[in-house]
């Protein structure tokens, strides 16, 4: 096998076939994909479907706790999950820069494969393009996914008293990426929380009827996700700071940089808005999942407030405003 991706790996000839066979089929092996059709053909049972797509460009490609491939699968799986769907099939499109090491591609494909197994999805269609050196930054991946929406999941209007559950700690993916990207050289355990959350739908079962909305707090983090929900339903919320779990290492980095972890991406957390009075019941179900053991009811929507507010540990309150810009480094 050649050590690096060459333009010819993308021209559709022998090298392309080899690449697909030696890497993608090796890891994404399933009868739908390897059926040598131009389209994946599969049977679906009746019901509602969810369909989503996302492109992943991340720097660095490999980070503590994951890589671009894991992220691409988790991103799409979690988007489907937030639509109340059990993810079934994914497609994966790769844009690779000439000169990219094949060994790295192998690692990426292998981690995609193991996450797919964990999430119970199959990659059934794909595409590879190779672009000239300098026209891309290593590798970009697009994933699209299709899933079956739970019959009892009905997103609906949020009203005062609806409870907010967050399924784990805050801001770990964004922080891990930040530290790696800028080589800040801080010591400590900074690992991305990147993980597929597809089990949430199955573990909730019929209980999902009490869930009014789900949202994965990726870009812009927990803060932006909550602000967006509050904006679109025109209702404020109150979040208890003491219920937000922020790992001490993450907290200290943000204290140092003057940034707020609530605005940093999570790639393995879900926000669930639950009908008033059903928070604890839903929480108890979700807590059973390995990746959701730190779930908490972090607050509630409340029409006494016009915006999303945080009740601080000393009883004060502050507004969580939407942050359109990337968090920036602060002097001092």
């Amino acid at each position: 096998m050649n050590q690096r991706i060459m333009l010819r790996h993308g021209d559709g000839g022998l090298l392309t076939n080899n690449l697909i066979r030696d890497i993608f089929y090796k890891y994404f092996d399933n009868e739908i994909l390897t059926g040598y059709q131009d389209s994946a053909i599969f049977q679906m049972k009746a019901g509602r479907l969810a369909f989503t797509t996302d492109s992943f460009v991340v720097k660095p490609i490999f980070f503590p706790g994951g890589d671009i491939g894991k992220l691409a699968v988790c991103g799409t799986v979690n988007d489907l999950t937030s639509a109340g769907a059990v993810p079934l099939y994914l497609s994966a499109g790769f844009v690779i820069e000439e000169g990219f090491e094949i060994e790295k591609l192998d690692l990426i494909a292998s981690s995609m494969s193991s996450i797919c197994k964990k999430a119970g999805v199959k990659i059934v269609a794909g595409d590879t393009k190779v672009v000239e050196k300098g026209s891309a930054d290593g590798i970009y991946i697009n994933t699209s996914g299709i899933g079956k929406v739970h019959k009892f999941f009905n997103p609906r209007k949020i009203t005062s008293g609806d409870e907010i559950i967050l399924t784990g700690t805050v801001g770990e993916h964004g922080t891990a990426i930040l530290l790696k990207r800028y080589e800040l050289g801080l010591k400590g355990d900074f690992t991305s929380d990147c993980n597929p959350l597809s089990e949430i739908v199955s573990v909730l079962g019929d209980g999902i009827k009490h869930v009014k909305l789900m949202r994965d707090p990726t870009r812009g983090g927990v803060a932006n996700a909550l602000c967006e929900i509050s904006d679109s339903y025109n209702i404020g919320a109150i979040i208890e700071e003491e219920k937000l779990q922020i790992r001490p290492a993450v907290k200290s980095v943000h204290e140092l940089l003057g940034t707020d972890p609530l605005y940093f991406a999570c790639e393995g957390r879900m926000i669930l808005v639950v009908e008033k009075g059903f928070g604890t019941k839903i929480l108890n179900c979700i807590n059973m999942l390995d990746d959701c053991q730190n779930s908490q009811i972090i607050g509630k929507f409340d029409d006494l407030y016009s915006k999303v507010c945080v009740r601080t540990w000393l009883g004060g309150e502050r507004i969580l405003a939407i942050l359109e810009n990337q968090m920036i480094s602060r002097i001092c």
Binding site: L184, Y305, L314, R318, L323, E324, C332
Partner: protein, 362 residues
């Protein structure tokens, strides 16, 4: 620990709120205090009779437009890379900001610490790195150390364009203004950790205004406000107190002061929205002039008084005359996404903290 803090803070706040029966205004000089007060939601638990107003201690907010213009000008030189903290990127000069320069393909790199700059200079040997060295006494020693390190390592492609300000002259300036608009001062613990307590003494001895040197935890801030209130009500005499003894000693950090004195000299500075204040800057002295971007590229920083376009009230916010919400642009034309003035750019800025964390109104 937190439970105990909470109890203690609750009791202290209760007492403060009971004793304060007339409106009082306390200025926190330091941007980090502004930020922390907002983050802890402190205004919400204090009686509405106590108003906390922000002072001129956010380094980004007091950076004049002419300085940004100079950085932009340097980007036109071949082989110049400007290294800057992120929050300076969106501060506007008289025509545009550094962020726009990035989109024009100019070489602007965001850094997170002075060490990053040293690494950058080592990595990009063929280019001239100009570091936008902005800050107060807190960051000045780090910049001095950076310059000395560059000399030691014989790095000759690193230059600093400084905009380094001193706290004492601006405090005097505000207190000597005809109409002082506040009754007590919360003094910056970070600065005092370097300078010691002496620069803050005149607040109490010359101007007879209650003052406390304060740390950045909720407990520090509440305890300091409590002392200020007791001084204001006459319960204890007006005198400079230090509630941040764990970091601040009277003599300051002699090592850091030594570094500052070795590398910098005292000069006049133009404060955005305020104007020229005598002796309020640190600039690179002649012993280290080979690291001074002004000398290397033979440029000057033009004072541009005309920065308050669009009725930005930054100048008044910075000296405590107005709270951010009194500015007509606040939250309408001016937000962290589209900042008009620098107070909205830096997360330490009074307007940004007020916007983000809600000020008095939740």
């Amino acid at each position: 620990m937190i439970e105990e803090d909470k109890l203690l803070i609750g009791k202290t706040v209760e007492k403060i709120n009971k004793t304060i029966t007339e409106d009082i205004r306390i200025m926190e000089i330091c941007g980090t205090h502004t930020h922390q007060i907002a983050r802890f939601g402190i205004k919400k638990i204090l009686s509405p009779k106590i108003r906390l107003v922000s002072g001129p201690g956010c380094p980004v907010c007091v950076t004049e437009a002419g300085y940004i213009d100079a950085l932009i000008k340097l980007l036109n030189y071949e082989n110049v890379v400007v290294a800057s903290f992120g929050d300076l990127l969106r501060v506007s000069g008289s025509c545009g900001n550094l962020e726009e320069q990035i989109t024009l393909g100019k070489k602007v790199v965001t850094v997170y610490s002075p060490e990053d700059v040293l690494n950058l200079a080592q990595r990009r040997k063929g280019e001239n790195i100009v570091f936008a060295a902005v800050g107060f006494e807190t960051t000045a020693p780090l910049y001095a150390a950076l310059i000395k390190m560059a000399r030691k390592q014989k790095i000759n492609n690193l230059f600093l364009l400084t905009s380094l300000k001193r706290m004492e002259p601006v405090i005097r300036f505000i207190l000597e203004k005809g109409s002082v608009n506040f009754d007590a001062m919360l003094c910056p613990g970070h600065v005092a950790a370097i300078t010691g307590t002496a620069p803050f003494l005149p607040i109490t001895t010359v101007y007879n205004m209650p003052a406390v040197i304060c740390g950045f935890e909720a407990m520090d801030i509440i305890a300091s406000i409590s002392i200020l209130c007791r001084q204001l009500t006459g319960e204890v005499p007006v005198q400079l107190m230090n509630t941040y003894k764990r970091c601040v000693c009277d003599a300051g950090n002699t090592l850091a002061l030594h570094l500052i004195n070795e590398v910098f000299q005292i000069s006049d500075a133009n404060w955005r929205g305020i104007g020229i204040i005598i002796d309020s800057a640190f600039t690179i002295n002649s012993d280290f002039e080979e690291y001074d971007a002004l000398k290397k590229f033979n440029i000057e920083i033009q004072s541009s008084p005309n920065v308050f376009l669009n009725q930005c009230d930054c100048g008044k916010v910075l000296i405590g005359e107005k709270t951010p919400d009194m500015c007509v642009n606040f939250g309408r034309k001016c937000s962290p996404e589209h900042p008009i003035g620098p107070c909205m750019v830096s997360s330490e800025g009074a307007c940004a903290a007020y916007y983000r964390y809600g000020g008095n109104k939740v």
